[in-house]
């Protein structure tokens, strides 16, 4: 599969996913296996198996080469660049969640890093004390009271609840990187970002391999805990047990 086709598939998926909830609801009633947090476990486990293969033979080796070859300042530069591109949408989501002070910080970060930080290659704003936030449309919908709709595991994009899958589709739709032209440049940027993110997860691979009794369940529960933490901006209320 060429990159161009890959990008098309991702794009097509993002459109399809928004309307895919009904289909999954049907699948879920057939596949229900008891865990209330994972109603589509059968479907998810097969997707997880597919993804493990794709990761092992494609994504991970490329990420390893990138991690090995690119010097730290280059990796940091790419990471900062894509982080900067995302700050506007992060700011929009902060505002949509009513966190206007945060939104101001996000926009301030964008302005400072795009100028003083040379097109976002350097994260000057963080050094000035403007903390980067983690926001996306899935979190915004959660704050608005939309339920998570069940856990899903997708090939390539990995774990997402149904709500966060729709959120991800919207995040991608407004993502400036997807609007870069010519298409070949856009595809290179999308691919680079994917590799950069995958490379940042390499150190976690070993821990998960070693720590998990059941890798699928370990990743699912880690994802759900992490999302809950993000939705509550790092201070989730305690769960009583």
């Amino acid at each position: 599969m060429t990159l161009k086709q890959g990008a098309w598939v991702m794009r097509a998926c993002s459109k399809w996913l928004v309307g895919g909830g009904v289909l999954l609801a049907c699948a879920g009633s057939v596949l229900a296996e008891g865990n209330p947090r994972d109603p589509y476990e059968g479907f998810n486990r097969s997707m997880f198996a597919v993804n493990e293969v794709v990761d092992k033979y494609a994504a991970k080796p490329v990420a390893q080469v990138y991690d090995h070859v690119a010097p730290l300042p280059v990796k940091a530069g790419f990471g900062n660049f894509f982080g900067n591109v995302g700050d506007l949408w992060i700011g929009a989501n902060s505002a949509l969640q009513g966190k206007f002070a945060d939104a101001g910080v996000d926009v301030g970060r964008l302005l400072i890093n795009s100028t003083v930080g040379i097109f976002g290659l350097f994260d000057v704003a963080s050094e000035l004390g403007l903390e980067k936030h983690e926001e996306d449309f899935g979190q915004t919908m959660a704050v608005w009271g939309v339920g998570d709709g069940g856990y899903l595991f997708w090939p390539v994009i990995g774990p997402r609840t149904a709500r966060d899958t729709a959120g991800w589709a919207i995040d991608s739709y407004v993502d400036p990187v997807w609007r870069v032209r010519p298409i070949s440049t856009r595809n290179s940027m999308v691919a680079l970002r994917f590799v950069d993110i995958r490379a940042s997860l390499l150190p976690a691979d070993k821990v998960v391999e070693e720590a998990a009794l059941d890798k699928y369940a370990y990743i699912r529960d880690a994802y759900l805990q992490r999302r809950r933490n993000q939705i509550f901006d790092g201070r989730p209320p305690r769960l009583e047990d």
Partner: protein, 208 residues
């Protein structure tokens, strides 16, 4: 001679009680800095010697952890189904697993900085959360929080939360699954088998 002996014992008990009185945030900071200082100086650990890291963690970190509580937390309702000897076996295996897997993270240490978040605690509180953050060049800061409880022997950690993910409760569904499939003994056997396979890998790696 006898006088010296008593002087040492007395000094020792003073230090021990000082430790017990220490505030939980100060304890976290002191242990973290002490361990990182050793890692910074130790070329074997930086080179990836898992055995040496495990020894270090055993000596410096584990005395501050409450593993029976951690295991109970990881098991949830199933903990009460286990007999005391089973609970002991579970605690032992779970401790081994956690140390094996997360001590390894220390071998990846490369000048990350730890920031200790402001900590406030009401008088008489016995269960607190100490918040820290790991800063590394070129990456987003990672949230690293410790839950501590006050016991007779001082403050003990009973949960570690990385980026919002509790390393302890993340096991709950996996443990529950094992207990449903093979009972408490089945779970003990699974963790034990996992530990043995990790040990075998470790032996192989050290030989190379």
């Amino acid at each position: 001679m006898i006088k010296q002996f008593f002087a040492v014992v007395f000094a020792g008990s003073l230090i021990a009680s000082a430790h017990a009185q220490e505030a939980p945030d100060a304890l976290v900071q002191q242990v973290t800095e002490e361990v990182l200082e050793i890692v910074r100086k130790d070329k074997d650990i930086q080179g990836g010697s898992t055995q040496k890291v495990i020894d270090l963690v055993d000596k410096k970190v584990l005395p501050h952890f409450n593993f029976p509580h951690m295991t109970a937390l990881a098991m949830g309702k199933d903990w009460k189904k286990a007999t005391p000897p089973q609970q002991q076996a579970l605690t032992h295996e779970f401790k081994t697993l956690l140390v094996r897997t997360y001590a390894n993270a220390l071998t990846g240490y490369k000048n990350q900085k730890i920031v200790y978040k402001p900590f406030k605690m009401n008088a008489g509180e016995t269960d607190v959360l100490v918040r820290t953050e790991v800063l590394q060049p070129g990456s987003k800061p990672v949230q690293l929080d410790y839950s501590l409880e006050k016991l007779d022997g001082g403050w003990k950690v009973y949960d570690v939360v990385v980026a919002g993910i509790s390393l302890v409760t993340n096991y709950r569904d996996q443990f529950g699954q094992e207990v449903r499939n093979g009972g408490v003994d089945g779970l003990i056997a699974s963790i034990s088998a996992k530990n043995k396979s990790l040990e075998a890998n470790l032996a192989k790696a050290e030989k190379k």
